[in-house]
């Protein structure tokens, strides 16, 4: 099974505490989340032999809660991809449709859950990397509010955008993992206590929120996130929204004009942050080191040529370009304007609606190899997920149904730290 889909890079066992809320639960962990003593490759030749000397906070919290880690899952190299094909360890296959991609970049985590090789999994979501593979593999994925879950021990790609989040077969199981991993961490200064940052009391009992009750819920449906989506995806998502209405919700059409520019803004910001974050890989303290003569610049350049794959090089170079003299104002500054605009658009929308519904992905799962030679096509597929990261908001992808035998995900976005609301709404869609 494990070999069939290439879901794992490393199979290993890290035992959890004897009891706790997740006792007896097996967890697959994305391979950019540090596990003490267990290789953590980020899907890259650069870190093929890297063994972290400490574990990420989320890993400690899972094992303290009784969970057993069963392995490190395949991923797009350093999280850079939408298909899990840029991994140095080969592509992962979609268990629902093995000739298709599982989505990315946390494709191994979603595939492991969909194939029953782990009860639940952790992914990381910088621009959709938990929600996309959840949608493509027909499982549930949660991208938490920025600051809800500690990133300590997560190998950074774009710090201002990313969060670790759970992937599970059901909303309730994903919420139960979130209950364990959420909460402030002294080792991550960007973590927040939800009740210290919101006006009212927000529920942080996530598993209890999966009660299937959509009574009185107002669902905003933004036209911009349906325009241009595959018709089969739109029909399936609209049917899932009808299920929400049948469960007591009301819908209202809304407009989020800023999201038309979200994907470009996301890529400029993510690539810029990546160009800085990945500067640490020079072969001196850890990671691959090229046999190279010459001075340190030549040595670093040779190490990075050998260690990084094409997509990682592309993003480092484009990020370097976007930040370089003469281009900063044209790209990076405009992208930050777009980010602020997206955040304001969502804030205004949440004055009248409780959650915002859309397709998670505007397309059905790609065939293996289909998008590899066309990076721009792959980037544009992130149009619906990236606005959420720019706005730091919580979102969930829940199975909406199938089109042509392929899974379709419904994305539900909520106000900051209102994970409980999106979990409740998603649980009302599930099993309908």
């Amino acid at each position: 099974m494990a070999v069939e889909y290439n879901a794992f890079i490393t199979e290993a066992s890290i035992d959890g505490a004897d009891d706790g809320p997740l006792a007896g639960t097996t967890v697959a962990v994305k391979d950019n989340i540090s596990t003490k003593g267990v290789t953590t490759t980020c899907g890259s030749d650069m870190l093929a032999d890297y063994v972290p000397p400490y574990s990420a906070t989320v890993v400690e919290r899972l094992t303290d809660a009784g969970a057993q880690i069963v392995g490190k899952t395949n991923m797009d190299e350093f999280g850079m991809g939408t298909t899990t094909e840029t991994s140095a360890f080969g592509p992962t296959r979609n268990p629902v449709a093995p000739e298709r991609v599982p989505g990315g970049s946390s494709g191994g985590s979603a595939a492991a859950v969909a194939a029953g090789e782990a009860d639940v999994a952790l992914g990381s979501d910088t621009g959709g990397s938990v929600r996309c593979p959840a949608a493509f593999c027909g499982v549930v994925g949660i991208k938490p509010t920025y600051g809800l879950v500690s990133r300590y021990g997560l190998v950074a790609y774009a710090n201002s955008l990313e969060q670790i989040g759970p992937i599970a077969p059901t909303v309730a199981e994903a919420a139960a993992v979130l209950d364990v991993i959420a909460g402030p961490d002294p080792n991550d200064g960007t973590t927040r206590d939800p009740n210290a940052t919101t006006d009212g009391d927000v529920s942080t009992d996530y598993a209890a929120a999966a009660d299937g009750d959509a009574e009185g819920l107002t669902v905003g449906v933004p036209t911009e996130l349906f325009d241009g989506a595959d018709e089969r995806v739109v029909e399936t998502v609209e049917a899932a929204i009808d299920d929400l209405v049948a469960a007591g919700a009301t819908t209202t059409t809304i407009s989020l004009p800023s999201v038309e520019h979200a994907v470009e803004a996301y890529y400029v910001i993510a690539m810029s942050e990546a160009s800085s974050n990945l500067a640490r890989f020079d072969g001196v303290r850890y990671g691959h080191r090229a046999e190279a003569d010459g001075n340190w610049n030549e040595s670093f350049a040779a190490t990075r040529e050998e260690g990084f794959g094409a997509e990682v090089k592309r993003r480092i170079l484009l990020g370097t370009y976007a930040l370089s003299a003469g281009y900063h104002d044209e790209y990076y500054a405009k992208a930050q304007d777009a980010r602020a605009w997206v955040r304001q658009d969502f804030e205004a929308a949440f004055e009248t609606v409780d959650v915002i519904a859309s397709p998670t992905m505007p397309v059905l799962p790609f065939e293996l190899g289909e998008s590899l030679d066309d990076p721009l096509q792959m980037y544009l597929a992130d149009a619906n997920t990236t606005p959420v990261n720019l706005a730091n908001l919580p979102a969930i992808s829940v199975p909406a149904g199938e089109a042509d035998g392929l899974p379709v995900g419904l994305q539900l976005v909520g106000p900051a730290f209102e994970e409980a609301t999106v979990i409740r709404a998603a649980s009302a869609v599930e099993g309908e």
Binding site: P186, V284, A301, L317, D337
Partner: protein, 104 residues
Amino acid sequence: MTETSDDPDDTSDDGSVVDPAEVEHVAELARVRLDEDERELFAEQFAEILDAFAALDEVPETDREEPLVNVMRPDEVDESLSQSAALANAEETEDGFFVGPKVS
């Protein structure tokens, strides 16, 4: 890549700047060695990608007031990695130090 632009001043400003030499310049800044095929492929792809990014021009100037607060804590001595654990992943070490490539 500038077919949508009517302004001749615009055409000199995008597309044409992404030639293999420009890619090589950025690659040098980023300390990533590229082979010739990669330089040419990237020049082509970057032109297309940067053309898509140019849509950011339509974004209005936006007030970017962020609700940011400093997160402070007392400076306390805590456990840290042992020297051997910190050096364990390095390719080359000497007397408890990392060994890097020569400076020049």
